[in-house]
């Protein structure tokens, strides 16, 4: 990976880290409600994969830990923050919240809160792309625990039989909510669970963004050119709890500390310092800039934006004024 791309990814991962930490703080003072699932520790996954894909063009879908996936697709950070604040300027107009960031203009097809729910939706996006003979692909980011849902097996089967251009990214962070993978899952290597479906599968170190990028290039290239599915497992770890209500009783401090030594930002920064491409002082300067941007622009935007208009409460339940509800545009006063 050249120095420019390394710098770009390091900067973007740092931004994602600080964005999520801001969310953590704002949740503590109840500016953000609901459930909040944060991404620190896993940044190399979303950033590394999307560096190999076409953010804003390829169609991305994920679970409820979705803020950073939205950011890497180009959803403006202030709109993500405003969504968390439940504001009208949020990416989903305040109707979705943390778990349901959407942005049609960036082809970010949403975060979903049912574990495993996005698998078939992703295959459906790919089916549409295939029917419409488009060159974009669908990319589905989910965690290891989603692979214990029926939708994983059902969807892999159909995506394979129907030859759908969908890339499944498994961010294996070793825990399904608060249950360790070895206590819930018969096969620890998630990529091996794909073999029966005749879908090519690979794995790599999800803490090393360069490794992720390299593996994702192969994966994305396969789906884009072959127009068939591919599965990539990224071995990773989340530094914080499953959600903000997670007491963390299910894993040891030693384990968390061990994984913190593999912080994806540090892994890349160390390598760049060793290679003489970047200094820790420059990194600290970036950090200052990013913190200022979050503090001076992103949070104030969310704070100062209006709440959704109560008049819109029922607006999006059904499509407004759809003529086919009443017998079509030529119908005269219904039945």
């Amino acid at each position: 990976m050249d120095s420019d791309l390394r710098k770009k990814l390091l900067r973007e991962m740092l931004f994602s880290r600080r964005f999520e930490e801001q969310c953590y703080q704002d949740y503590q003072v109840r500016k953000i409600g609901g459930f909040l699932h944060l991404y620190p520790g896993q940044e190399a996954c979303a950033h590394g994969v999307m560096a190999a894909a076409r953010p804003g063009e390829d169609y991305v879908i994920t679970g409820y830990r979705d803020h950073v996936h939205a950011l890497v697709c180009g959803v403006p950070a202030k709109e993500v923050m405003a969504e968390l604040y439940g504001k009208a300027t949020g990416s989903s107009g305040g109707f979705g919240g943390s778990m349901h960031i959407f942005d049609a203009s960036k082809h970010f097809m949403g975060g979903y809160a049912l574990v495993g729910g996005p698998f078939p939706l992703a295959a459906g996006l790919a089916m549409a792309l295939k029917m419409q003979e488009r060159e974009e692909i669908a990319i589905c980011f989910l965690g290891d625990a989603a692979n214990n849902q029926g939708t994983f097996h059902e969807t892999l089967n159909m995506a394979s039989v129907w030859k759908l251009p969908v890339l499944f990214i498994c961010e294996n962070n070793l825990y399904g909510i608060g249950t360790a993978i070895e206590r819930s899952t018969a096969e620890l290597d998630q990529w091996k669970r794909v073999a029966p479906y005749n879908i090519p599968a690979a794995w790599t170190d999800g803490q090393d963004v360069e490794a992720v990028y390299a593996a994702a290039q192969t994966a994305v290239n396969h789906v884009r050119t072959e127009r068939t599915p591919y599965f990539l497992e990224l071995k990773t770890y989340r530094f914080r709890g499953h959600s903000m209500s997670d007491g963390g009783a299910y894993r040891s401090k030693d384990e968390v500390e061990e994984w913190r030594k593999k912080d994806p930002l540090e892994v890349l920064l160390d390598r760049m310092v060793d290679d003489g491409q970047f200094t820790r002082e420059e990194f600290a300067a970036w950090d200052e800039e990013i913190l200022s941007e979050i503090e001076d622009e992103i949070v104030p935007f969310a704070e100062e934006s209006p709440l959704p208009d109560p008049a819109d409460l029922t607006r999006y339940v059904y499509v407004e004024d759809d003529p086919w509800v009443h017998g079509g545009p030529d119908a005269q006063g219904g039945a």
Partner: protein, 326 residues
């Protein structure tokens, strides 16, 4: 206006819409090569091929999810779930995805997916093939639910559902696919909201939907012989229910019986009664009543099955009771 069987009316609606729009596809178990369990997709595979008439594996939840995902990008999938009993398996994708994506995205995406499925009791199919599930589907905000009682509605409701931008669940009936009726020769779009007066009357309203419309019509014939003019209202739309239509009929007849093939709790009957209470309670001359199935899973033995499911005579008896002549 030609006579057409119910299955053929559904098939014709598919065929016309697929011919018009290459984004209309059909998915489901045995819908393609096998021609459809109830022939509702018969011949489509030969006309439109495997890419548009897709035989699915038996994975109801995920093929409904795939259809929903495709619909987000402009595909218009029509999914057949072979039996409504199997649709329980697809509730996650139908309720959590299709019905909610528009709302939780703040209106950015729509899910114009149609799911058709036959429910109801046929003959000795026992507990796991005799569900009447409309009560579950009609309670979900964001999901339109319609239920045709005749071939014309079956044709026109599917035509409209395919073109409507909202997700639509079409509740058909296993015993009605061979029912014949008149269907317009020209293209016809049935409204997805509202209700129809299937037989006008002035003394009492019999509310039915899907198969129970036929029990109501038969009961109205028998009541007419006793000098009672029953009005039959066909609630072809279950979500949303036609509050105005219910109010208009009850305000005219002042008495109401709601007839459903399903067991009573949390059903169409209780919901229509609630609407009558809310909209026109003071118009009533007698408490509304309902005719429902016995609250059991469906038994296999034919004598027991017959006991569970209401018929036209139950409707007549209940109507007479409401009229004070029971």
């Amino acid at each position: 206006m030609a006579q057409m069987q119910f299955w053929d009316a559904v098939r014709r609606a598919h065929d016309e819409e697929m011919a018009r729009d290459p984004m209309v596809i059909v998915m489901g178990e045995d819908v393609g090569v096998a021609g459809g369990t109830y022939k509702a997709t018969n011949g489509l595979y030969d006309s439109y091929g495997a890419e548009r008439v897709i035989d699915t594996p038996i994975s109801e939840n995920s093929f409904v999810g795939i259809a929903t995902g495709a619909s987000m990008l402009g595909v218009r999938p029509v999914v057949e779930i072979m039996s409504v009993n199997f649709a329980w398996l697809a509730m996650d994708q139908l309720f959590n995805s299709a019905a909610k994506i528009r709302y939780m995205s703040g209106g950015q995406f729509t899910c114009p997916v149609v799911v058709r499925s036959p429910g109801g009791t046929a003959h000795q199919l026992a507990a796991q093939h005799s569900a009447r599930m409309e009560k579950v589907f009609m309670g979900i905000a964001g999901l339109r639910v319609v239920t045709p009682s005749n071939p014309k509605q079956a044709y026109g409701l599917l035509k409209s559902a395919i073109r409507c931008a909202d997700p639509v669940f079409i509740n058909e009936h296993e015993r009605m696919y061979n029912l014949a009726g008149e269907v317009p020769d020209e293209e016809y779009f049935h409204p997805l909201e509202g209700s129809e007066v299937a037989r006008p009357g002035r003394d009492i309203t019999l509310f039915g939907y899907n198969i129970s419309v036929h029990w109501c019509l038969a009961a109205a014939e028998k009541l007419a012989k006793q000098g009672i003019e029953a009005e039959v209202v066909d609630l072809y739309a279950l979500n949303p229910l036609d509050r105005e239509g219910i109010k208009a009929s009850v305000s005219k007849t002042h008495r109401a019986v709601i007839v459903e093939e399903a067991e009573a709790p949390v059903g169409v009957g209780s919901e229509v009664m609630a609407i009558i209470n809310e909209e026109c309670f003071w118009e009533l001359d007698a408490p509304p009543a309902r005719v429902s199935a016995v609250n059991t899973p469906i038994p296999y033995a034919h004598n027991l099955e017959d006991l569970v499911i209401p018929d036209e005579d139950d409707v007549v008896a209940k109507a007479l009771e409401v009229l004070g002549r029971g």
